[in-house]
Amino acid sequence: MAEKFDVIVVGAGMAGNAAAYTLAKGGLKVLQIERGETPGSKNVQGAILYSDAIEKIIPDFRDDAPLERHLIEQRVWVLDDSSYVGTHYRSEDFNKPPYNRYTIIRAHFDQWFNKKAREAGALTICETTVTELLLDGKKVVGVMTDRKGGEIYADAVILADGVNSRLATKAGFHPEIKPKDVALAVKEIHFLPQETIEARFNIGEEEGVVIEMAGTISDGMMGTAFLYTNKESITLGIGCMLSDFKKQKTTPYELLDKMKQHPSIAPLIEGGEMKEYAAHLIPEGGYNAVPQVYGDGWLIAGDAGMFVNGIHREGSNLAMTTGMLAAQTLVELKQAGKAFTAPNLAQYKAKLDDSFVMKDLKKYRRMPDIFHKNKQFFTTYPELISKAAQKLIRVDGVDKKTKEKEIKQSFVASRSVFGLIGDAFRFWRAME
């Protein structure tokens, strides 16, 4: 193909769309290539949209973006097999526009986001797979696609091709991702009448609830689960580290089935009709797993660059932000008349380091390793906490002082005094 572009963006997810939109707005000639039938058709997310990140790209997104419910309540549950101990935070402050978080359906949202990019001037082609990067020495000069006449040239390529970025691996930019650095998550969407959802969660029209869960439902593996309310459906899912699945031989659908049968969760989805299921890898290697993200003529954004904050369940906002920053870097260089060389593109890394993206990832840099090595946070503690709560709440003639003593003893018996101190220290280190 003779036509040449300023930039080719591979992928039409959050990072790709953010990049394509920002590039087009910045006046660059941009081609976006998506392998799915439509933007979003292959993308899997819980999904929660954090307003801040999209606002920085499209300030008036609320006017026409397909949003399900804005969230007014956050529940955090620690579960054992029969109970949960949790905190709920609900506030009318979350009911005042502009709303901070929304549940979304990615298939709808991504089409909207991509339409914005196309309206800004980006050219998007779908059902086309980029098979490899075209190199001139070490410099990326374009892409090869699986279509007839498949070579397309550009001054730079943004790789926003998702978690298992084969392109970057194939080009030798970074090694293959490791099972310990990715979580495998499965989710289902259950349809329920709108009124049922609103009655069940004590919410009004357009209001939503999030439940984040951890505990014995992950079957001893490092992982978390979630449940989100959409307009006419409930999404729930669970994800654990791939290395743990591999070691334990548990299958993801068994975990999800068990989760759906949990006495605290089953009534919330009862009567629903399961209409969609999906599985996806989530890059959760954290700060230390972030690869080289730029080079001569190339930049990496989104999941492809490991930009996920696992502990806070943030990914799409990091994807959007990295996509935007990658694009801004290119726009600024183009305006200054500078080439897209590695030294010039180092500005992208500087922008990342200066943003919440790298700051947050750095804060939790020890977290993955500590949780990998200390599974008691997913097994012993949820049970201990649940039993302690039950002991305190159950009225059975035993005096409170004795109860407290017994609770203390149960913790010491399970973990020993040094174990408890060590765990407290490890937990603090993970979160520090």
Binding site: M1, H108, L123, T128, R147, P193
Partner: protein, 281 residues
């Protein structure tokens, strides 16, 4: 050589949901696709273009969102696409639709003579298989339905020979062009368009014709007014109860199994047992 292919954008019936409470069909959020049968029509037209050269024009009548279906046809290699779209068409049945499309095709013929008109054998949302034949009748064209193969096309003599799947066998039919062909499914496989077509499709300035532009002067002939068929209700049949029970065999003996089965049937239908006993005397 100019072929016109009529397509329809339909909801992906594989993904239509039934409301668990009201048992009505929920179209909301169901992705729209090109009627799968129409793709066989389009591919056949593209193959004739590969062989004889010429032009393939795709036409659809539908809401503005049907533009996506037309762009997809362009990405497969169609040359031109026309979206016939007007609120006046809302509620059209097959009689009104075939009128609108036939009139549109007449308008197209004014610019470039048409040799062949293609449609799919039917749509997956209406299942009537009436619009294609309706267009042929209104244009007074020969009609070839359920065509499985185009055997020969002679542009000089204006003759076409096709194989037609009929009850009990395959018919070999020859007729004069221009004519209308409804293609049978499974007769070909849609191509994977090349990059140039994909780019052209993404950038193509699509023609949108309203009622007047399509040359329809008489508004009484289209929309609800032109449609004697009324869909009074759409609903999903109640699923049959799916209770299954495993029956154990004793010593792997089919006779024992038959006796056990009969006993189970008779406990549920006591009248049946009496009836059989009576007949057996």
């Amino acid at each position: 050589m100019h072929s016109v292919v009529c397509i329809k954008q339909v909801p992906d019936s594989a993904q239509i949901r039934v409301h668990p409470v009201t048992n009505t069909i929920m179209r909301q959020g169901v992705p729209a696709i090109i009627n799968p049968y129409d793709l066989f029509a389009l591919e056949e037209a593209l193959r004739l273009k590969d062989k004889f050269g010429g032009t393939v024009t795709v036409v659809t009548m539908g809401p503005p969102m049907a533009e996506a279906a037309l762009r997809k046809c362009l990405s497969y290699g169609a040359d031109d696409a026309i979206l016939v779209s007007d609120r006046a068409f809302a509620g059209s049945d097959t009689l009104a639709t075939s009128y609108a499309l036939a009139t549109t095709i007449q308008k197209i013929m004014g610019n470039m003579p048409v040799d062949l008109i293609f449609t799919g054998k039917q749509t997956i949302d209406g299942d009537t298989a009436q619009v294609g034949p309706g267009i042929a009748k209104r244009l007074d064209y020969q009609l070839l339905t359920y065509v499985s193969k185009i055997v020969d096309l002679d542009l000089e003599k204006k003759e076409i020979t096709v194989e037609r799947r009929a009850e009990g066998g395959v018919q070999l039919l020859k007729t004069a062009t221009p004519c209308l062909i409804t293609m049978l499914e499974g007769t070909n496989e849609m191509r994977f368009g090349d990059l140039d077509d994909l780019f052209r499709a993404a950038r193509y300035d699509l023609k949108v014709w309203n009622r007047e532009a399509a040359g329809i002067d008489d508004a009484e002939m289209i929309g609800l007014k032109g449609s004697p068929t009324v869909v009074s209700k759409v609903f999903a049949p109640r699923p049959r109860s799916q209770r299954a029970e495993m029956v154990e065999t004793v010593d792997n003996d089919p006779k024992n199994l038959a006796v056990t089965l009969l006993a189970k049937v008779f406990t549920q239908h006591p009248k049946l047992e009496k009836e059989i006993a009576k007949r057996a005397g």
